[in-house]
């Protein structure tokens, strides 16, 4: 009997998806993804209600989800990241049950250990054979790593592969093997290439971003961690990438060979690896075409799962071997707690992703952000939402100075010795408020619209509804 089906509707019927079940999706097709919307439309058409959607991330492209919420098709959401469009609707209370936010690492872990079971995983795959052996490395919708889908493929009760490149011959070196796959559905197109990966990710030309990036590289140099075997992760933000460029210059000049570059991988990390800054790349997600090309052709560019990347229950997780991570923030408080979930008006526009996983694991967790965005200070007395707890954050880099967590007196001394502009975090807050004024406190309702679950399973914070 063939696993190949002609439509998602058929898969829904054959798997007897019914009210109250949980379906899951990965986000490697990012803002180009067609699969989640197609599957949810089919579920709605079938008249099924009370579905829980467990997606590794939700982007603006998934806005049709809001109609499914209004119509009672979707009544629960679990995710690690949520774009501003869906986030705003959630913040305004569209969903009765609070959203469960997890981290990338713990999402994989709780799917695996049964805390958050998945009935059917719908896995978008840029190439699959008829058995469901599949990969993200080839095909017209190639996205590179499928790292966030591995737990779904391995632990969901049922697995459906959805592809727009179905091949006849058995796929060699699949990322996900077909033995647990129930069905393979062929679709005209699983995603819009323009939204899947960016052509190239560029470093910032913003002078303030470059100043911060240069501080970040000098902090790494001064930290004592810059030596052979160093491991490194950075985000795809302009200033973070610029920091990677400055770091690369230092590593090449000092002939330092690191062990691995980790996480979401960009062309910049690919170049660093090629030029000898790292032995290998461990890739849970590709951000641009260079990264996709590299993971396809470079044996030292390795695909890893969310569990290998960052599971809190896996002592061998890569984040636990991470020396340095550079992260962003929308808000940091004087206890170094970081908010990456909500914007300045309290509206959801993000999520932890791997933020708190890497901060917890890395020896040096660095937040890089300008002190003022428009008129708003990055530093406040208390963040409106704790995404990453302050005791896992070591240093905040702004253009106006570098604040070191008091628990890292050793690091502070090293930065002072390197003549970096170290300031107390309270002083940064005072400076910002002196220039910009003291913002009126955020007014929220008292209904919880999302629970932020930390990687250890505890609810670290709740997000309240917005009344305006």
């Amino acid at each position: 009997m063939s696993k190949v089906l002609h439509s998602v509707d058929e898969a829904i019927r054959l798997l007897e998806i019914k009210d109250g079940m949980t379906v899951s999706f990965h986000h490697h097709l990012r803002n180009g993804d067609y699969v989640l919307n197609t599957v949810m439309a089919a579920i709605a058409n079938a008249g099924i209600k009370n579905i829980k959607v467990n997606a590794s991330s939700l982007f603006d492209v998934h806005e049709p989800l809001l109609d499914h919420i209004r119509n009672g098709v979707v009544t629960d959401i679990e995710t690690a990241y949520m774009g501003a469009k869906i986030g705003s609707a959630i913040s305004h209370g569209i969903l009765q049950n609070p959203v469960t936010f997890r981290t990338h690492g713990s999402r994989g872990a709780v799917i695996a250990n049964g805390t958050s079971p998945v009935d059917v995983a719908f896995i978008a795959a840029p190439t699959s054979d008829e058995m469901g052996n599949c990969t993200g490395k080839t095909g017209k919708s190639a996205c590179g790593s499928l790292g966030y889908a591995f737990a779904d493929a391995q632990y969901a009760k049922h697995v459906v592969i959805i592809t727009d490149n179905l091949i006849k011959e058995p796929l060699e070196n699949p990322s996900i093997t077909g033995e647990r796959v129930d069905y393979v559905v062929e679709m005209e197109s699983i995603g819009n290439p323009a939204g899947i990966v960016s052509g190239t990710t560029r470093i910032t030309r913003d002078p303030v971003g470059l100043v911060m990036a240069s501080y970040a590289a000098r902090i790494i140099e001064a930290s004592g961690l810059l030596k052979d075997g160093m491991s490194f992760q950075t985000g795809a933000g302009g200033a973070s990438l610029a920091a990677a460029k400055y770091l690369k210059d230092i590593m090449l000049e000092k002939k330092i060979k690191g062990s691995f570059g980790l996480g979401g991988i960009t062309g910049y990390l690919v170049d660093m690896q090629k030029e000898g800054c790292f032995e290998e790349l461990r890739d849970v997600q590709c951000f641009d075409l260079n990264a996709v090309e590299s993971i396809r052709t470079n044996p030292n560019h390795k695909e890893i799962s969310a569990i290998e990347y960052a599971s809190p229950f896996n002592a061998e997780a890569a984040v636990n071997k991470l020396d340095v991570v550079i992260l962003g923030a929308t808000e940091v408080d004087t206890d170094f707690n970081v908010n990456v979930h909500t914007d300045s008006n309290g509206s959801i526009m993000g999520g932890s992703g791997g933020h708190s996983d890497t901060a917890a694991g890395a020896k040096l967790a660095m937040i890089i952000a300008p002190l003022l965005r428009a008129r708003l200070s990055i530093v406040s007395d208390k963040v409106s939402c704790i995404s990453t707890p302050g005791n896992t954050v070591d240093v905040l880099v702004t253009q106006q100075g570098i604040a070191v967590n008091p628990k890292r007196e050793d690091l502070k001394q090293r930065l002072l010795d390197a003549r970096l502009p170290v300031v107390d975090i309270h002083e940064l807050k005072d400076r910002a408020q002196k220039i910009a004024g003291v913002p009126a406190p955020l007014v929220t309702g008292d209904r919880t619209v999302a629970n932020v679950v930390y990687r250890d399973g505890t609810i670290i914070d709740t997000i309240k509804n917005l009344v305006t």
């Binding site: 300045s344 428009a374 008129r375 913002p439 009126a440």
Partner: protein, 87 residues
Amino acid sequence: MKLVKSAVAGTLESNDVFVEIEPAENIDIEIESIVFAQFGDDIRTSVEDVLNEMGVKGAKVALNDHGALDCVIRARLETAVLRASEV
């Protein structure tokens, strides 16, 4: 200072404010801002301050603010008032 014509000052760029002003019987202030929730009241106070300091008794003022600091808001409004009072 008496306004004799309408005038504008500032830009719609980030960290700046675009001010439109015209002569009117009374003071009428309209504020649109990306940081209205946090600084709406402060912005209104600054506008009233500047108009008062410059002796403007009648003006219709509209601000489109993209996160300008207080000193920028005051500068742009002062410029607009001076431009509107030039004969």
